[in-house]
Amino acid sequence: QVGPVRSEAPGQSLEQTQCSLHPFQVSFHQLGWENWIIAPHLYSPNYCKGACPRVLHSGLHSPNHAIIQNLINELVDGSIPRPSCVPYKYTPISVLLIEASGSILYKEYEDMIAQSCTCR
């Protein structure tokens, strides 16, 4: 038995509220790191935001647990939240920086840019 479909918030389209990747850019100056990070000047970590749908389509790559948690929220206990919208895949970023010793370092940092989102 499946409960009634919940309507989305008034005035907001499904696209606006559903879990999705949002572009976001920050400068290393804003982070206070411009003294030692030479390149790049801008960093685009992006972020995931939005509600997780009741039916988790395959494009969201949700694990079985998320499907069960949705069912629990709907059928058993409404105080158990729906799955959260979080990053699924990341990409690295290459940084050129000056070390404390005065050496110049090129370095790739893993998992620095959100590339897609999931509900889990």
Partner: protein, 238 residues
């Protein structure tokens, strides 16, 4: 600094590996202006441009099989008196690896094979300065496409076998030998020409955080009751 803050800062590398690594690498104060320009920086910017796009995303076709490259400047230099057409100086490079997270995959000395002075020019090459008779050079994979006017000598085997210390510091001695090309007066300018960032060491690493132990939140709460506020910890680091 309050004692509590000091304790919190000491825990940062364990709790937040990324911030820990960044704190280790960040200079205590703003880098001197000379570091933010000059030939070494131009060299590394070229390396960066070949391996990452303007947004910092690594290019799909990686030029070298390493995820970190460090340019090391000489910590000391000694110029020998000229002998005939030969102008020689010895450079000392301080090696201080963190072998837990840095796996050396390639090492090379980068230098300028031709130095132009006002009335003459010198033709140069480099070699390790060691007492051992047989020095095994080479051994590294390809580096990146060198900017014009630069040359490099692969020292991967030599550094891995002779110099790379298990722990602590070691000094790599490199001799730069330059030969005068014309029978003209070189003058005193050769010392200055050799001293202005014409030779440096480039180390290629595979660098990982995976070996850094991570502490679970629960463990943190048990160890530090009432002080498990990661947010304020991160703010204090900032």
């Amino acid at each position: 600094v309050h004692a509590q803050d000091a304790v919190a800062l000491a825990q940062v590398p364990t709790l937040l590996p990324l911030l820990g690594a960044l704190l280790q690498e960040a200079p205590r104060k703003s880098p001197r202006r000379r570091l933010t320009r000059g030939r070494p920086l131009q060299y590394m910017l070229e390396l960066y441009r070949q391996n990452a796009d303007p947004h910092g995303r690594p290019r799909e076709k990686r030029i070298f099989s390493a995820n970190a490259v460090r340019l090391v400047r000489p910590a000391g230099r000694r110029a020998l008196p000229p002998r005939g057409p030969w102008y020689v100086q010895t450079l000392d490079f301080l090696l201080e690896p963190n072998r837990d997270v840095e796996q050396l995959v390639r090492a090379a000395v980068v230098y300028r094979p031709h130095l132009h002075l006002s009335r003459s020019h010198l033709s140069c090459h480099v070699e390790p300065w060691a007492h051992k008779s047989a020095i095994l050079l080479g051994g590294g994979s390809l580096g990146f496409a060198l900017p014009e006017a630069w040359a490099e000598r692969d020292l991967t085997n030599y550094i891995q076998q002779q110099v790379w210390p298990p722990k602590g510091k070691r000094v790599l001695h490199i001799q730069v030998r330059c030969q005068q090309q014309e029978r003209t007066e070189v003058g005193l300018g050769w010392r200055q020409a050799l001293a202005t960032d014409t030779t440096f060491l480039v180390l290629y690493f595979n660098n990982t955080f995976k070996n850094v132990p991570q502490t679970g939140l629960q463990e943190l709460v048990l160890r530090n009751p009432g002080g498990a506020d990661l947010f304020s910890l991160a703010r204090r680091v900032r």
